[in-house]
């Protein structure tokens, strides 16, 4: 297996060793261990629009059985957690306004389980978070979910019990609208992206706690340093290394877990399996992208096709035409493409760290494949990315190099408010002197128009939050009555993650008053990117002027950003609020939000 060299000079050699990017062709669930009474391999084609996708269940009365199955995506047969024997779980397809009954049975040996309906507005006891919504589903037992669908769009569902989501418990959830959609399409495909590991996910978590940099085989080396000295001079190269050295960090820390551990899947299929969605030339095809990855940001493009994004997190937006988008874990984007002139197009989904990819094909018939593009050069984090770009204008976010910024930051970071700089965040007292906070931002901005790390100036038109705008006005209309600011914090080396330096285990709930309209301000004080998901209610992202901009259920927070969103507390109960990087959540980046009368 070999990969073409990525474009651009000065790129470190691409990974070749130990990287099983493509997976196996005939991967998937190979056997059901639990007696589900269903076909162990439920990958039957389900109608013309959804060939090759998992089974579609569209009854309002659904039986789901969670069990252990054997799966093989890499050449090794490993245990997976599946729904009705299927990975991904069956596609649930309902209609807005319907009341659905879902009986979820747990056939796992000795492990409780749960299903959370990501992004759905429902009573708290139907939300599926053990310990907040209900007691979980004990082995051998079942839970009856019942709720009325108050919305439409592309969503997904997954386990909210420990690491079961990583083991395969995730599926697409589509709700057809009562009113016709504001667009016309001829067919559609669900594109569910995810990350698979042969490791036991719990063992992977323990590995992260021992050596969080385990997968970072891209650290800058002595030869890289000598190359930079030749290119930029001794002073600049040493200043650059000095800055990172004082912070004890590395600019190649793009993702905690990458293709050294993961095989990336598209609809439960490794790249070698070439998942194929069919089209007829000239048709308008709706692609419902869902990122069900536990720890992976995907950068998605379909070479040769423009994509028109028409919905984000299930909610319609003003259509925006783009070449590429970054999708954070738990986000969904609906895009329309009009393939014609080619028989096959590659859906190319490289991970943000450029270590691997998920891929599939849109084709006029099965068996076709278009070229798979080279992965882009691996990006390096800049001081601007880190929120340390003090006093630099950042219009356009061209990715400032920190070269020449000797001494501006580093060992002296961490003293809260910086006088007059309007971008300087005020850090909560709980961060000060906190051994679990290894970094604080010194200059943050919403960066809504920034395509993000590794996507700037790549010659393609990349989707941003700024470019997406809800198709409707603020449904609530009120100005936020108050503001709660929370900082995303962590310690890379300890693999400890938190809000305001306080991990979930020792954090008090964030209390909202029923009916209030309030604003959440998030400041990212880490060098990682975090998708933040609030259960139960919408997160209405504000634009840079503090106005209603984009309704979402998951707000992506790149490093160095401060983003604000409005919350209408119209759902009584106890709700989970967390980073949707699964291992960050389990390492403490979670809070309970309690909406009370």
């Amino acid at each position: 297996m070999s990969f073409p060299k990525p474009p651009g000079t000065g790129t470190p050699p691409m990974p070749s060793r130990r990287l099983f990017v493509q997976g196996v062709a005939a991967g998937g669930v190979v056997a059901g261990l639990a007696a589900t009474g269903l076909s162990p391999r439920a990958f039957a084609a389900a109608g013309p629009g959804l060939a090759g996708a998992p089974q579609v269940l569209s009854s309002h009365d659904v039986q789901l059985s969670i069990g252990e199955s054997l799966a093989n995506f890499t050449g090794r047969t490993r245990p997976a957690i599946t729904v009705n024997g299927s990975l991904p779980a069956p596609i649930l397809r309902w209609r807005e306004g319907q009341t659905v009954n879902i009986r979820v049975a747990n056939t796992l040996q000795g492990h409780p389980t749960s299903i959370h309906w990501h992004g759905l507005l429902l009573p708290a006891n139907m939300d599926g978070v053990p310990g907040l919504s209900f007691n979980g589903i004990a082995p051998g037992e079942a839970y009856q979910y019942r709720f009325t669908l108050k919305q439409s769009g592309t969503y997904w569902y997954h386990s909210h019990s420990l690491f079961q989501e990583q083991a395969g418990l995730y599926g697409a959830l589509i709700i057809d609208p009562l009113e016709p959609a504001p667009y016309h399409v001829d067919r559609e495909h669900v594109i569910l992206l995810s990350d698979w590991t042969d490791m036991d996910p719990g063992a992977l978590f323990r590995r992260m706690k021992k050596l969080a940099e385990y997968d970072n085989y891209y650290k800058r080396t002595l030869p890289d340093f000598l190359r930079d000295v030749r290119k930029d001079g001794w002073a600049a190269a040493t200043a650059d290394r000095g800055m990172w050295g004082r912070m004890r960090m590395t600019p190649t820390d793009i993702s905690d877990i990458n293709a050294h551990t993961y095989t990336y899947l598209l609809n439960g299929t490794a790249p070698a399996g070439n998942w194929t969605g069919l089209f007829r030339s000239g048709e308008k095809v709706l692609l419902r992208f869902i990122n069900g990855g536990s720890m992976t940001y995907f950068d998605v493009r379909i070479p040769g096709l423009k994509m028109t994004v028409v919905a984000a997190d299930g909610q319609y937006i003003h259509p925006v035409s783009i070449d590429e988008f970054r999708i954070a874990p738990a986000e969904t984007f609906d895009v329309i493409v009009e393939p014609s002139g080619q028989d096959a197009y590659t859906i190319f989904c490289q991970d943000m760290g450029r270590t691997g990819y998920a891929a599939g094909t849109l084709a006029v018939r099965h068996g076709l494949q278009a070229p798979i593009p080279a992965r882009d050069p691996r990006p390096l984090l800049t001081m601007s990315d880190m929120g340390h770009d003090m006093g630099h204008a950042s219009n356009g976010m061209a990715g400032h190099d920190m070269k020449g910024m000797e001494g501006g930051c580093g060992a002296s970071m961490g003293h809260g408010a910086h006088g007059t700089d309007p971008k300087a965040p005020r850090h909560p007292a709980s961060e000060q002197g906190n051994p679990l906070v290894d970094m604080q931002s010194m200059a943050t901005e919403p960066k809504l128009d920034d395509p993000g790390i590794g996507l700037r100036d790549n010659g393609r038109n990349v989707l941003t939050y700024g470019a997406m705008r809800s198709l409707f006005d603020d449904p609530d209309g009120r100005d936020p009555g108050r503001e709660v600011e929370l900082h995303l914090t962590g310690h890379m080396e300890k693999f400890s993650w938190s809000f305001d330096g306080i991990p979930f285990a020792s954090a008090e709930p964030l209390r909202l008053n029923y009916g209030e309209r309030m604003r959440i301000v998030l400041v990212n004080d880490t060098m990682m990117q975090h998708p933040i998901h609030l259960h139960g209610v919408w997160s209405d992202l504000e634009n840079a002027d503090g106005e209603f901009h984009l309704r979402k259920h998951t707000i992506d927070m790149p490093p160095g950003t401060r983003r604000t969103y409005r919350v209408r507390a119209d759902a009584l109960g106890r709700w989970a609020y967390h980073c949707h990087l699964l291992y960050h959540m389990e390492a403490g980046m979670m809070r309970e939000v309690r909406i009370e009368e």
Binding site: P182, Y183, K209, P223, R248, P435, L471, D479
Partner: protein, 346 residues
């Protein structure tokens, strides 16, 4: 499966349809509640953040009185020469001026009414939850790093050496185990084990308190140990420990390690370790002051993160009385050794 809305038989192009239907549809989506409750934009007071405390303004220092209008010479102002005709308003960017149309104040009542809570809602919102219903990832973790497990070949003999450290605990509180030792010509020359409680006091530093037990050269010599360890700026792995022995001896060890990446798997590890004693102890072969410095350079290849064989060179030198005592015992004060070993962790 119901997909009928998507196969609408409209002949319009998507673009046209989007253009035509977007506003109407947006209204239908967002406004279904607002048909019932018209917004009342008038009664929203301007937001007062309450931060401006006028009582503390000292008007006397503002110096309004110092403006001497009498000295203004309006006659020299030539109002007539301003040619308004030359102003080209067409190039003004009104949008950029920010004064656009004043926005209607936001309503104080939600456009979409907040549902009235029923008893059933309350029951559904706060169901009884068993303690421990939420499973948590383990908070106690552990790691054992055998940093050096090697054979050495010196100018004056051969032998084996090890250095290992391990921890068990959470993010802040950990139990540390450290052990170091050396065998020479089939005999264990030194061996110790430290058991310490460590607490993170800052993102990069832990303080440690515990005991060290020497097994060699002297049997059962016990020390109280106090130390710090962590990652110094520029990523120097550093530890410094002070030891107080039963006999009132005071000793200290400082160790600094670095990792220089030749590639991401081929790693050069320089290391310096120095040992000091406060009291002269001929019976243990220790003089006062600097006893020993060891400097090593090890080149490892990480076949995996957990398993890396290495080769290297290590130089050690005894100083002062310590050197004299050892030379008197027939040993050498300096040695340069080739080493080969493995670095593993679990």
């Amino acid at each position: 499966m119901s997909r009928s809305p998507f196969i609408a038989t409209s002949a319009l192009s998507t673009a046209l349809l989007l253009a035509l239907s977007a506003p109407a549809w947006a209204q239908s989506h967002a406004g279904h509640a607002s048909h019932a409750t018209t917004p009342t934009p008038t009664d929203a007071p301007p937001a007062d953040d309450g931060n401006v405390d006028h009582s503390q303004m000292d008007h006397s220092k503002m110096g309004h009185g110092s403006v001497d209008h009498a000295q203004m010479d309006h006659s020299t102002m030539d109002h007539g020469t301003t040619d308004h005709g030359e102003m080209d308003h067409s190039k003004m960017d009104h949008a950029a001026m920010g004064h656009g149309v004043p926005k209607a104040p936001a309503p104080t009542e939600p456009l979409e009414p907040i549902p009235v809570v029923t008893a059933a809602d309350r029951l559904a919102a706060f169901p009884p939850i068993d303690h421990g219903a939420m499973e948590h990832a383990p908070e106690i973790h552990s790691m054992l790093l055998v940093n050096r497990l090697e054979h050495w070949d010196g100018q004056h003999g051969t032998g084996q050496a090890w250095e290992a450290s391990g921890w068990v605990g959470g993010n802040i509180h950990r139990l540390w185990l450290r052990s170091e030792g050396e065998r020479s010509d089939g005999r264990t020359g030194s061996a110790d084990l430290e058991v310490m409680y460590g607490r993170s006091v800052s993102p990069w530093w832990d303080v440690l308190v515990g005991v060290k037990q020497d097994f060699r050269p002297a049997d059962s010599r016990t020390w109280a140990a106090f130390g710090i360890q962590g990652l110094a700026p520029y990523k120097f792995e550093t530890s410094a420990t002070a030891y107080v022995g039963e006999s009132g001896q005071f000793a200290a060890t400082v160790e600094v390690e670095y990792e220089l990446l030749l590639t991401n798997r081929l790693i050069l590890q320089p290391l310096v370790e120095a040992r000091f004693s406060a009291k002269d102890e001929p019976e243990y072969g220790n003089g006062s002051g600097l006893n020993k410095v060891e400097a090593g350079l090890r080149l490892r290849y990480e076949f995996s993160r957990r398993f890396a064989p290495y080769i290297g060179i290590s130089h050690e030198r005894l100083f002062g009385d310590t050197a004299d005592y050892h030379e008197a015992a027939g040993e050498r004060a300096r040695d340069t050794r080739w080493v080969a070993g493995v670095r593993v962790w679990f």
